[in-house]
C-alpha cells in the first residue's frame, strides 16, 4: 500500500468536498427556509467565478500584487453573486411563494437555463483560462506532491467560512431568526420576524459562499465556462441530499463524503466513472436513510 498516494487522494477528496460544501450550503439553507430546490444555485457559483475572472483580467493590467487582485476579485464576486441571488429570489420565487411547490421548481429550472444562456452569449462556450493568483507557499514544498498551495488555500478558506457561518447561525439574532423561520415560518412572523428579510439574508449567504467556491475552484482548475455551474451544482445538490437537505452540518458532511468517494473511486477503481460514483453513493444512502445522513424527519431545517 502506497501511503503517499492514499494521502494524495484523501486531500484531493477533501478539496473537492470543500468546494461542494461551499455550494451545498446554499441549496440546503434555501431549502430549509422556503422548501425550494434552487436549481439556479449552480449558476450563481458560475457567475461568481466569471466576475472574478473579469475583475482579475482588468486588474492584471495594472501590475498589482496577485494576492491583492485575488482578494478584490473575490469581494466583487461575492457582491455580484449575492446581487444575482437576491434578485432571482425576488423575480422568480417570491411571486410563487403561495403557489404549488412544483411551480417554483419549474421557475428555478427556467432561471438556471436563462443564466447559463446569458453567460453563454456574453462569454462564448469556450473554456477561458483563469489566472493563477495563489503564490506557491514555501512551507508546502516538502509535501507538494500530495497538497499544493491552491488546495491548501481551498481547505483553509472553507474551514474559516464554516466557522464563521456556524457562529452566525448559532449565536446571532439573525441566525436564530433563520432557524426559527425554517422550523415554523408563521410562528416567526407572529413574533415580529420579517421573513422576507430572513429569506434575503439566506440568499445572500448562500450566494456568497457559492461565489467563494467558484473563485477557488477556478483557481484550482485554471479554466471556466458557462457550464461549470451546472455540473458542480448537481454534485453539490447530491451532497446536500446525501447529508439531509435542510441541515447545514449534513451538507458539509455529505460534501466531504462525496468528495472522498469520487477521489478514492477514481484513484483506486477507474477515472472513467468519476461522475457515476456520486450517484451510486446517493442511491445507496437514500435506500438506508431516506432523509439523508443527518436529515431530520420533522420540519426543522437550517
Amino acid at each position: 500500500m502506497d501511503h503517499s498516494y492514499f494521502f494524495e487522494l484523501f486531500l484531493g477528496g477533501m478539496t473537492r468536498g470543500s468546494i461542494y460544501a461551499l455550494i451545498a450550503l446554499g441549496y440546503t439553507m434555501v431549502y430549509g427556509i422556503i422548501k425550494l430546490i434552487n436549481f439556479a444555485h449552480g449558476e450563481i457559483y458560475m457567475i461568481g467565478a466569471f466576475t472574478a475572472l473579469i475583475v482579475s483580467s482588468v486588474l492584471g493590467f495594472t501590475g498589482m500584487n496577485p494576492i491583492l487582485i485575488l482578494a478584490i476579485a473575490s469581494v466583487l464576486a461575492i457582491f455580484f453573486s449575492s446581487a444575482y441571488g437576491t434578485t432571482m429570489e425576488k423575480i422568480a420565487y417570491k411571486p410563487l411563494r403561495e403557489a404549488p411547490r412544483l411551480s417554483a421548481l419549474i421557475s428555478a429550472i427556467g432561471m438556471s437555463m436563462f443564466l447559463q444562456n446569458y453567460v453563454l452569449l456574453a462569454q462564448t462556450p469556450d473554456f477561458l483560462p483563469f489566472p493563477d493568483m495563489i503564490p506557491d507557499f514555501k512551507f508546502l514544498q516538502p509535501i507538494n506532491k500530495i497538497l499544493n498551495s491552491t488546495q491548501f488555500v481551498i481547505l483553509v478558506t472553507t474551514a474559516i467560512v464554516m466557522i464563521l457561518l456556524t457562529i452566525l447561525i448559532k449565536f446571532t439574532k439573525i441566525g436564530k431568526a433563520m432557524r426559527a423561520t425554517s422550523q415554523d415560518a408563521k410562528m416567526a412572523q407572529l413574533l415580529g420576524i420579517n421573513i422576507n428579510k430572513v429569506i434575503t439574508v439566506t440568499f445572500i449567504i448562500g450566494s456568497a459562499t457559492a461565489a467563494i467556491g467558484g473563485v477557488l475552484i477556478s483557481s484550482h482548475t485554471g479554466q471556466l465556462n458557462y457550464y461549470i455551474g451546472f455540473i458542480a451544482g448537481i454534485k453539490a445538490f447530491v451532497a446536500a441530499v446525501l447529508g439531509g437537505i435542510g441541515s447545514i452540518p449534513g451538507a458539509v458532511l455529505g460534501s466531504f463524503v462525496l468528495g472522498w468517494t469520487e477521489s478514492f473511486g477514481t484513484g483506486y477503481i477507474s477515472s472513467d466513472y468519476e461522475d457515476v460514483f456520486a450517484f451510486i453513493f446517493l442511491i445507496i444512502i437514500l435506500i438506508f436513510r431516506p432523509s439523508g445522513i443527518l436529515g431530520r424527519k420533522q420540519n426543522d431545517k437550517v
Binding site: 436564530k176 431568526a177 407572529l190 413574533l191 420579517n194
Partner: protein, 235 residues
C-alpha cells in the same frame, strides 16, 4: 383599544368570517367562545395580519392596521400565542424566549424580563438549555406565553391555551393570565372552547357560531344565559 369592524375573511373561496365585529377596551380581559370550526382562530389570525380580511376594518389604538404586515402589527404591541403553542422545537427554551424579544433592542430590560418569566414559570429556568420540542404540553404552553410576554405586548391574543392540558396546569395558566392582566396592565383577548374557564376570568365575552358573532355581554351575564349554559357550559 382594538376595534374590529365587519370583517370578512376567506380561505380561497371559503368564507370563514362573516361580518365579525369585536371591540376590546384597554385593560380588560375579553373572551371569544364557540365550538370547533366557528372561526375563532381565523379571527385572531386576521388581527395578526396572517389572514388579512377581504373586507372590513381593524383598528388598533385608532390606527388602521387592516392588511398591515404581521411584523409591523407585532411592533405596534399585538402579540399572539397561537393554537397548538407552536414552540420552535429545535431552539432551546432560552432561544425561544429570545425570539419573543426579536424586535426589542433594550438588552438590559430583556435580561430582566427573562428573569421575570422564569419567576412566573420556574420550570422554564431549569430547562432553559433544552430544545423546546422536548418539553411536555403544559411546559410548552408556559413557554409559549412567556415567549409572547418577552415581546412586551399591549394586547395579548391567546388561542385555546387550555387545549389538551391537565386541569391543574390549566388552572395555573389561567392564574398567570389573570396576573399578567392585573400586574402588567396587559389587555387580554382569550379564545377558548372551554367556556366555563374563560368566562370565569373574563370581563366580557363574545359567542361565535359558524363565522358570526351571535352574542355579546358581560362574562357574568353570559354565565347566567340559558342558551350559553346549554350550548357551552354543559349545564
Amino acid at each position: 383599544m382594538l376595534r374590529i369592524e365587519n370583517i370578512k375573511t376567506f380561505y380561497g373561496n371559503i368564507q370563514a368570517l362573516q361580518d365579525v365585529s369585536i371591540e376590546v377596551k384597554k385593560g380588560e380581559i375579553i373572551t371569544l367562545i364557540g365550538a370547533n370550526g366557528a372561526g375563532k382562530s381565523t379571527t385572531l389570525m386576521s388581527i395578526s395580519g396572517i389572514e388579512p380580511p377581504r373586507s372590513g376594518k381593524i383598528f388598533f389604538e385608532d390606527q388602521d392596521i387592516t392588511g398591515m404586515d404581521p411584523d409591523k402589527i407585532v411592533s405596534l404591541g399585538i402579540v399572539q400565542v397561537p393554537e397548538g403553542r407552536r414552540i420552535f422545537p429545535f431552539l432551546t427554551v432560552r432561544e425561544n424566549l429570545d425570539m419573543g424579544a426579536f424586535l426589542r433592542t433594550d438588552k438590559e430590560e430583556i435580561k430582566k424580563d427573562i428573569e421575570y418569566v422564569y419567576s412566573l414559570f420556574p420550570l422554564l429556568a431549569e430547562r432553559k438549555n433544552q430544545p423546546g420540542g422536548t418539553l411536555s404540553g403544559g411546559e410548552q404552553q408556559m413557554l409559549a406565553i412567556s415567549r409572547a410576554l418577552m415581546a412586551k405586548p399591549k394586547l395579548l391574543l391567546l388561542d385555546e391555551p387550555s387545549l389538551g392540558l391537565a386541569p391543574i396546569i390549566v388552572q395555573q395558566i389561567m392564574d398567570i393570565i389573570k396576573k399578567v392582566n392585573t400586574e402588567n396592565k396587559t389587555t387580554i383577548f382569550l379564545v377558548e372552547q372551554n367556556a366555563n374557564l374563560a368566562l370565569k376570568i373574563a370581563d366580557r365575552g363574545y359567542v361565535m357560531e359558524t363565522g358570526r358573532i351571535t352574542m355579546k355581554d358581560t362574562a357574568k351575564a353570559l354565565q347566567q344565559n340559558e342558551e350559553v349554559k346549554k350550548a357551552y357550559l354543559g349545564i
